[in-house]
């Protein structure tokens, strides 16, 4: 496989991990965020500093990156998730930018805008793919069970959820912490893929991109988020020769998806045996309707 193609696949794996985190928070818990690049930045710089300055093994560093991002997400979540609906989305813009500005201005620790070079290239294709698969399985398992139902209950109707005995605040913060962990891991892997970091890589555009792929993939569909990430990644590469028009093409694709599939590429469905069954049963329902009509 050519190095170029390998690079694209690694990047899609990494971005998919981050998108899975955002998918849990936005798609399954109903909390919109526009600042999750901040948690990727925390993860990336943690992994970079631990491996380069403290010679920590890369695997430990990546896990530490996820853990630190999770802890920070939790600490941010406790006071801010009292904000409901759009208010949290607005606060998250500020939080994401704050993290980036701290990294940019804490020169002695992060080298600021000059960038952080010399990170070992530990994110190979097998590493990225293994992390992607492992974290995908864990997330699917989590969603298919008591926590998944609790998150969805908080998303659909938090009053009803609390009257079914759920501490909704607890689940909202937990969802944010887990999504922080996923973005932190993605950031840690990103450091080992790019071998060079700059705070500007994790700006608001990156945050918006993360939420955009989740929305266009379909809120409440994990496979949708991954497909969204893959489509965006491939479009970026295909149109690289005319990269000055890239945002124009992004915009056009998003409009097309919005018109053609307002509920996102996958809607709420997941790829799997259940989807095939539901496609089949939908067909029979239509047939029944037809005979009625």
């Amino acid at each position: 496989m050519s190095g170029y193609l390998e690079g694209i696949i690694i990047l899609i794996c990494i971005n998919s991990i981050a998108a899975m985190g955002v998918s849990l928070l936005t798609g399954f818990t109903g909390i919109f965020t526009l600042g999750h690049a901040g948690y990727m930045a925390i993860g990336a710089y943690t992994a970079a500093i631990l491996t380069v300055r403290h010679h920590v093994p890369w695997l430990v560093a990546v896990l530490a990156a996820g853990t630190l991002a999770m802890v920070i997400a939790y600490l941010i979540g406790v006071p801010t998730l009292k904000l409901m609906g759009d208010y949290f989305a607005i606060a998250s813009i500020g939080l994401g930018e704050t993290i980036r500005l701290i990294l940019e201005n804490w020169q002695s620790f992060t080298r600021g805008a000059r960038g952080f070079p010399g990170i070992a290239n530990y994110t190979t294709l097998p590493v990225a793919a293994a992390f992607f698969l492992g974290m995908l399985i864990l997330m699917r398992f989590l969603i298919n069970g008591n926590y998944g139902r609790a998150f969805k209950a908080c998303r659909d109707d938090f009053v009803a959820a609390s009257l079914l005995g759920f501490k909704t605040a607890h689940y909202r913060v937990l969802s944010l912490a887990i999504s922080g962990f996923y973005c932190g891991i993605a950031g840690g892997l990103m450091a080992g893929f790019l071998t060079y970091l700059q705070p500007i890589m994790f700006d608001m555009q990156k945050s918006t991109e993360l939420t955009a792929v989740v929305v266009f993939g379909g809120l409440g569909s994990l496979s949708g988020s991954i497909i969204g990430t893959a489509v965006l990644g491939i479009v970026t590469e295909v149109f690289r020769p005319i990269s000055q028009y890239r945002m124009l093409i992004y915009g056009a694709i998003m409009v097309i998806i919005m018109v053609a599939r307002p509920e996102g590429i996958m809607g709420q469905h997941e790829i799997g045996p259940k989807l095939l069954r539901s496609l089949f049963s939908r067909k029979t329902v239509n047939e029944v309707d037809g005979t009625h009509g």
Partner: protein
């Protein structure tokens, strides 16, 4: 006589200048099936919201099984054995009927985060138990055939019954039903009456029903509390309520004239 399971004492709640609930006092004995009636805006649903901790009262006490729950949070009240349905349905519309009930059932079959993450340990058995209990409840309210349909796509009467199933899944001792017959035609109301009476008996419940349909209240509730403008204006058995001039004036009288 044993202590009442629920006792409200001088309960008060203001919303700005509106005195929504004014010195409400009543109690329910264990195993009672009681009705709470009154014209629109009388404060009935507010009483439910106060009992379940959605609002906290400005003054007064709510004693449930000997414990004051007036300042408790919603989930704490629920964990003590209170469940309710809603006047304007609050199902999870995108989830299936089965998932809606399972979301409540899972409170009885717990497993921890790591078991959820790995599907190991108690996950398999408990998920099985949750599903079985949910299907039993759906069968009980006659919704087994639509278990896999999204709740939001069900007909209105089915959604009402689904809410009752979801509330029962919490295995409550006190069940609060907020206008369960709203929007139903007379036949549906008749079926619903049977359902309420059956679950009340079979699940060993104390039930409090808010209802506008007099045929529901008069037929099934031996104990009726009537509210108007936030105050309790009468309490007694159906006969007493039907002959009370105060209520005829406030409420029933208007319906009779029509």
């Amino acid at each position: 006589m044993a202590d009442p399971i629920l006792r409200l004492e001088n309960l008060n709640k203001h919303f700005g200048g509106v005195h929504a609930v004014k010195d409400i006092t009543f109690s329910l004995e264990q195993g009672e099936l009681a009705g709470l009636i009154g014209p629109n805006g009388a404060g009935k649903t507010t009483v439910f919201n106060l009992i379940t901790g959605v609002y906290s009262p400005d003054a007064g006490s709510i004693v449930f099984k000997g414990e004051d729950i007036a300042s408790r949070k919603t989930y704490e009240v629920v964990s003590r054995g209170v469940a309710r349905t809603f006047q304007n349905l609050r199902l999870f519309p995108r989830s299936t009927a089965l998932e809606n009930v399972m979301t409540a059932c899972q409170q009885h079959f717990r497993y921890n985060f790591f078991e959820a993450l790995t599907h190991m340990g108690r996950w398999r058995n408990n998920e099985k138990s949750i599903k079985k209990m949910s299907l039993d409840l759906l069968e009980r309210v006659g919704l087994l055939e639509v278990a896999e349909q999204a709740a939001g796509t069900l007909p209105y009467g089915h959604q009402r019954r689904l809410e009752i199933a979801r509330a029962l899944a919490l295995q409550p001792e006190l069940l609060l039903l907020d206008e369960p017959a709203a929007g139903m035609n007379p036949e549906e109301v008749h079926v619903l009456n049977g359902l309420i009476l059956n679950i009340h008996r079979d699940f060993n419940l104390t039930t409090l029903v808010i209802e506008h349909h007099m045929e529901v209240i008069m037929e099934i509730c031996p104990h009726i509390i009537c509210m108007n403008f936030g105050e309790k204006i009468a309490e007694g058995d159906p006969e007493h309520i039907q002959n009370n001039p105060e209520i005829l004036k406030a409420y029933l009288g208007e319906e009779v004239e029509e």
